[in-house]
Amino acid sequence: GAGVSQSPRYKVAKRGQDVALRCDPISGHVSLFWYQQALGQGPEFLTYFQNEAQLDKSGLPSDRFFAERPEGSVSTLKIQRTQQEDSAVYLCASSAQGPNNSPLHFGNGTRLTVT
């Protein structure tokens, strides 16, 4: 079946622009995660949804970052007034149940470059 789909694959933004990154999880998956992966680093947790509820947003680096999953399926990660330090690959992952019960399935990521 289809895996996790992320769009766009690549995004170039000028400093100060707003961006929106989309994630389509595997159909029926309850949990959805966003991670940020800088060059040479492991994925860093940003936020976690269970259905439409955002249960943990402790990893969001600033109030310029905002995520939503209004109908418990597709999710959008929005970054306002982008800065150069926001340049990274943004990964979305979903799991069938909670992370305590089932592993994560990752998308290919969106590579964001802020110039």
């Binding site: 492991g42 992370p99 592993p103 994560l104 990752f106 998308g107």
Partner: protein, 111 residues
Amino acid sequence: AQSVSQHNHHVILSEAASLELGCNYSYGGTVNLFWYVQYPGQHLQLLLKYFSGDPLVKGIKGFEAEFIKSKFSFNLRKPSVQWSDTAEYFCAVNGYQKVTFGIGTKLQVIP
């Protein structure tokens, strides 16, 4: 807070050599442990997982890992690597909802 430490950031091996990648975690309670792999140009995918039971876990492509609770370790092993194992390997821990990843180990296998 939970954390993961991977000891080797870049490993180079010849084909047929044995592999062991170290992983230590920090978390005070019950954990689930994972190894994920990212082949060149592909997305992260699950290699193996430990939730409970037998601490020796077998995964895909001949990989295995052993959970040693007293050492807070979950090292990844493979007796004989192949060129196709060239990839980046990430250890991850889940103590409570959040899955935390290590920095990753880049494995290069030379034919």
